[in-house]
Amino acid sequence: MDVLSVRNVYDDAERAKDKKAALGADITIENFSDETVNALDMIDDLDDLDKQTKKDLLQVGVDTEEKNRSGSFLQVDQSNIFTNNSMSDSIEVMNMGVALEKYSWLEDYLWNVVKPDADKYTAKTALNEQENGVLSGYFVRSLPGTKEVMPVQACMFISDEDIMQTAHNVIIAEENSELHLITGCATGDDVGSAMHVGVSEMYLKPGSKITFTMVHNWAEQVEVRPRTGVKLMDNSTYINNYILTSPVSTIQSFPTAYCDGENSRAIFQSIQGGKKDSIIDVGSRVLLNAKGARGEVISRAVAQDESQIYARGHLAGTVPEVKGHLECHGLVLSDDSFIYAVPELEASSANLEMSHEAAVGKISEDEINYLTSRGIAEEDAESMIVRGFLNMDITGLPDELAEQTQRMIDMSLDGM
């Protein structure tokens, strides 16, 4: 780990280990226990998982039969129990420990686009790595000039009570390549409380494309703090889709895309359904740092029960000739829930174009009446409107993946 020490990663982390995050409730990390890395046995086949786990995985888009996939990765608690790297010649899927042994250059990609001293959660992850080595999380890479349309599936699963799961993922799309990922996060049925911190760093080389579709299905007492940074080089495209419709204790994330390359483009699309007393604070940020860069942040949020949703979006244009659009629509279904939309536009250069559109309100009575006048009961009308509202058209996916994603969305919306 010399390179990382030279870059002061661990010193920075040490100094930040009590640093509160800028947003979200402050979680007492000490309430959760560290798991020994790779304490669980590897499995030979995803099919060997028990029936309930299979169902949980399917719910978040992870197919244990690996149909129409180009690779698989499964981490349970702090153990990588399954990796399938032999499904595509274009794609590499490895456990981080294995990847670092294979590629000495990979260290340069660690703690680069996510800072170890961002807050105490990133610091904790870095300090864990200092102690044990960088062993959890996945490495996925598409080789130069390749275009694999089938997605890699990666899953973070928490199986045990009160544990803290950390992961450090690196995703690289080499020059002129295309890479699709489905990542699911879930907890076992009997897990009450737990914590998840996932650090993800993504790098898009010139002319490449990554789509990253994430479905979260945590338990009601799980604290979730993903930390994601994406670096885009010339003419690259990043598409991030996020779906959360099941209860969680608190989730706070604010993935940031750095459009550093000319004509690079980042799109964030998210569907958030707040239930019970979930506190969901999910935003997306795009920094438009190069000529011709474009950013789009689109979110739909529905708050019910006693849930609270903070829907944030931040676009910052620092150079001329960039374009950004932010769109946030929210529906508040109960008196005890709320949505706080925070669209931010920041322009520090002339000759750029940025816009935003935000609308938060209750479900329209006219729409309910219209449907009841066609013989639909009021309750059914409401749920049709809510589902229709959340069911946004996800753009930018290959046909097969688009269909799968639609099925995942349908499944997530079934409970709404």
């Binding site: 329209s364 009575e365 006219d366 729409e367 009446n369 219209y370 449907l371 009841t372 006048s373 066609r374 013989g375 639909i376 009961a377 009021e378 049709m384 409107i385 589902r387 229709g388 509202f389 959340l390 069911n391 946004m392």
Partner: protein, 251 residues
């Protein structure tokens, strides 16, 4: 009587819009409702339909002999009421196809039934159009045609049309009129018609293609005049609605 409205007074947002409305429509009959802008025509429709913001403060509405004044909209629709709206709302994520399936009591997983597919074609809707979100970005004419198509899926016993011809070009009025005729059993001889309707029209152009049995003029929340549709329209064209206020003999 199929529909019997007696001494109906209705408040909307605290304002009394309908004052004392009496109106009866027999099985198989088509009536026309005329009146100036803001007279309360749409309010009367939506009250008959049972929208919650229309507060019935006096009187009653009977349908098929049953007092429906207190029933919910969905319950009234089950009894056989239907309406085409003057300006329906757009609903994101709810397609015309989905609605047609629900309205024709089909399973959502099934393909749209052949009858509806055929009717959609007759109303000049392409297959792709049916997958669009209902009323979202529809042109004026498309809104009206989609309303009629949905009614054809429901086939109500009593249908109210709120300005089905406004903003529709001549060619399309004829098309709509022929489908409205289907909804009102116009293809059957007068004596054996079962379906009934109430039609709001401003210019009366559609009456050239849909025959009506009787017309009523609603002014300021009261029906001030009823009679032969052709004669009343003629009179309004000549003398405006003022003529109706003065006209006591048709009452």
């Amino acid at each position: 009587m199929l529909l019997e409205i007696e001494n109906l007074a209705v408040e909307v947002a605290g304002k009394r819009v309908l004052k004392d409305v009496n109106l009866s429509i027999a099985e198989g009959e088509t009536h026309v409702l005329l009146g100036p802008n803001g007279a309360g025509k749409s309010t009367l429709f939506l009250t008959i339909l049972g929208f919650p913001q229309y507060d019935v403060v006096e009187g009653s509405i009977k349908f098929k002999g049953q007092d429906i004044t207190k029933l919910s909209t969905a319950e009234r629709v089950k009894l056989g009421l239907g309406v085409s709206f003057q300006t329906p709302p757009a609903i994101r994520g709810v397609s015309v196809r989905d609605l047609l399936k629900i309205e024709s009591h089909q399973d959502m997983d099934e393909e749209l039934n052949p009858r509806m597919q055929e009717l959609a074609k007759q109303l000049k809707f392409s297959d792709e159009f049916l997958d669009r979100d209902v009323n979202l970005g529809f042109s004026g004419g498309e809104v009206k045609r989609s309303e009629i198509l949905q009614l054809l899926a429901q086939m109500p016993d009593f249908t109210m049309f709120d300005e089905p011809d406004s903003g529709v070009d001549i060619e399309n009025v004829e098309l709509l009129a022929s489908e409205i005729g289907t909804l009102l059993d116009k293809d059957k001889p007068q004596g054996s018609r079962k379906r009934s309707g109430l039609l709001i029209t401003h210019l009366g152009y559609i009456l050239n293609f849909v025959s009506a049995d009787r017309a009523h003029v609603l002014i300021d929340g009261v029906i001030s005049c009823s009679g032969n549709p052709i004669e009343i329209l003629e009179d309004i064209r000549k003398n405006g609605f003022n003529g109706c206020v003065e006209c006591a003999q048709c009452l």
